[in-house]
Amino acid sequence: MASPVFESHLIFLIPLIPGISAAILGLTWLFGTRLHKTTVKMVACGSVFISFLISAICTKALLQLPENERHLTQTLWTWFAAFGASPAERIHLPFSFEVDPLSATMILVVTGIGLLIHIYSTAYMADDDGFQKFFAYLNLFMFSMLILVLGANFLMMFIGWEGVGLCSYLLIGFWYKDLANARAAKKAFVVNRIGDFLFITGMLALFWGVGMQEGPHGGFFSMTFRDMREHLPSYIAAQENVRILGIPLITFCTLMFFGGATGKSAQIPLFVWLPDAMAGPTPVSALIHAATMVTSGLYMITRLNFLFSLAPDTLLVIGIIGALTALMAASIGLFQYDIKKVLAYSTVSQLGYMFLAMGAGAYTAGMFHVFTHAFFKALMFLGSGSVIHAMHHALPHGVDAQDMRNMGGLRKYMPVTFWTFMVGWVAICGIFPFAGFWSKDEILWKAVEHGMAGKPIWYAIYAIGLGGAALTAFYMTRQVVMVFFGEYRGKKIGEEYLAKHAHGDHGHGHDAHADDHHEEEAHELHDPEESPFAITFPLRTLAIGSAVVGLFGVGAWATHLTGIPNYWNAWLAPVIVSTAEVHHARTLVESDRLYAQHGDEHATDAAHGTPAAHPAAETLKREPAHHAPDKGHAKADAHAAASGDHGGGAHHAPWWLELGFAILSVAVAAASMRFAWTLYQNHPERPAAALKQYAPGGPKASSPGGVFYRWAYNKYYVDEIYEAGAIRPVGTLSRYLSLFDKYVVDGIVNGLGYALLVVRWIAGLIDKYIVDGVTFLGFAKFVAWFGQRIRSLQTGDLQGYLRWIGYGALATIGFYMLVISK
């Protein structure tokens, strides 16, 4: 049996190998070397594959450890350190990686799905000029993402956090020659900066607030997650004692962190960048904007769950925002025609569910949805990419290859894409027993549990979530029908287009790898064809995953009926702070306070040893007894952990109630699917006619339905609100500031310049007439004049010189004799 020490020495290779690959591909590209495409493929996919293997090795090593010791740490070097007077003031920040069940899950998802998407991209991007650059970026993304999830402290995470933002920007703007793409990239970057600002604010506030507080729990300055969790009393004390802007410290910081997460994970109010991010190549949308990067906000919350659990107010905010985002994004998705935009809003909506789970304190349930969603959403994005790929070759240039109105009936042409997409469809709609069913159902059930625990607002959140699920089923069915069923509309539309533009002007679709089409090709209409194996292989693999991964985390009712345990919750349980742990920490803080008040009388307080001498937190190790090795107990714990510490107690609801709610959500989803199917498959003309009525200018435009349609169709005017509320004021402000710059600052600078010109002119005059005229030129002229006079003395005649010597000698002697010696 391999010792974990060995595996922990491998951890740094997981991010490093894709990083090296990115450096090789990127630097050679930068210096103008175009590697052969086969080389690029081998390097890019190979590095991710090795990374995946090492991730698997590390995960296996974790599994061999006892449940409470499941963490492998590797410290590469000390990043920085500062030394204070007391041990508590010493700051030591190592550059270290950590694999625990949470990060192990993430690295497996990132490298596993990342590998499939790399393989997919080799075919999808095959005709692109930027092939090598694309894979350099993609590998760089893997590098950053793996650092994000493997980082053992805040700053490591932040490196990755910024790195993925950068890669996202680079890849959204991959086809930067199209201005819209460049704008989308910029938008994503700027919006993410807002989130990042909040994130780093929270980070610094936390570091400062916890470290600077008074009392036995102050002076804790570590940013390493594991240390932080072991010093839980410091945070509890800070929550009670330190306030920022009147908000308790931990609540403030977690709100800031959540703000960062809304940027990265596209939640209200910062979700606007994600739909625009679809400007990037489809594999990028699948990898970054569906499966991995956008879940990093969720990862961060789960990583810091011990902090979030201390701040119920933050959790409520997260739950509400998540639910609203889920519903709102789903309703926008109803009216989109771009195949990728539908999936983008669907992603925002699904991320909303995950945040809803986080808000309910059900971190494991949220992460489970992250996990399953990574499979089925990556699958659907890749499927849509396959469709777009085919449509590009089938449609003439000017026709949008991403508009679902140009598709239809593709199941006959693309059977593999069709079948795999079907799996994704039932998975996201939440049909038993596919992946989405288990994870989404778990989330909704947690909301219900919270409601039953005496927080009625969670019933409302549940209702919103259920409504969102119905909408999800509706728009996904709409998409499936519009793309794969009915008649193929592309041929007719293409012919009409060609007839209209006989001389073919060359617009192109959003997802244009159109550049390398030849002109003649563009004028022929092909039937759509199934994509090559490199595309269908990832689709098949992900389809299998989407079908079965839900079984890792079955609901309690299924455990009750079949005896299959919920592996997922048990696996992640050590990561999640338990009720008992929080309770224990609170007791320590409480006894410390009593000790501080009555310390003199009770120098040896039996309740608490010697709290002043050593930080109380040191005594807080996670209770080994709490996670007893026997299966049933661990399972119950996992469940307790998943349901969060606050409110507790709710997990005793009977299994049949949970089953009832599961049946209800499946029924709602199925009804919604049936409804959409009827509308779009059986009566395709009806929705169009109805929409015409509700559209602006139509007879029902001012009815509530019309208002809803107009709002949802225009994405609730969020972009416009930002435009009016933020971008334009900032623009105006900038213009005024630029006026200041132009007239005041530039005036000063230019005035100084003119003043210097005058000074220079005067100085020039002085130089010319006084310096040059009197002194230097005067001397020069004198020397020249004198030289002219005496130059004839130098004759070159040796005897002439001697004569002068002789005259000189005579004169000297004469002078001596006649004057001096007289």
């Binding site: 130059r791 003395l793 130098q794 004759t795 070159g796 005649d797 040796l798 005897q799 001697l802 004569r803």
Partner: protein
């Protein structure tokens, strides 16, 4: 009773030698002649040294060898000077194919 020659006699001979040398240096255009004139001038100086040395050697506080040493120094110097000067002359001859000084006026102003 030794035959006594006065100091003035030496000085007159020496001055005659100097004037002969000076005359050669000033009037001859051939560099070898100039060199020979310089030798005469040096010899006149050497003779002066010896003569003065002879007439002050018995006075107190005077090193009797000082004049002799000066004289010998001049002879050594003259030998070295002659060697260097002849080498220069050969070099000049190689460049100009002449040793007439009036043909060597490249440096005139």
């Amino acid at each position: 009773m030794a035959f006594h020659v006065s100091l003035e006699s030496y000085l007159i001979v020496s001055a005659a030698l100097f004037v002969c040398g000076m005359y050669a240096v000033m009037t001859r255009r051939n560099a070898v002649w100039i060199l020979m004139g310089i030798e005469l001038i040096l010899n006149s100086a050497s003779l002066n040294f010896t003569a003065f040395s002879r007439y002050i050697e018995h006075q107190p506080g005077v090193d009797p060898a000082a004049g002799m040493v000066g004289s010998i120094l001049i002879i050594i110097l003259a030998a070295a000077e002659a060697a260097v000067a002849l080498a220069i002359l050969i070099s000049i001859y190689r460049n100009f194919r002449t040793i007439e000084t009036e043909d060597m006026q490249e440096l005139k102003g």
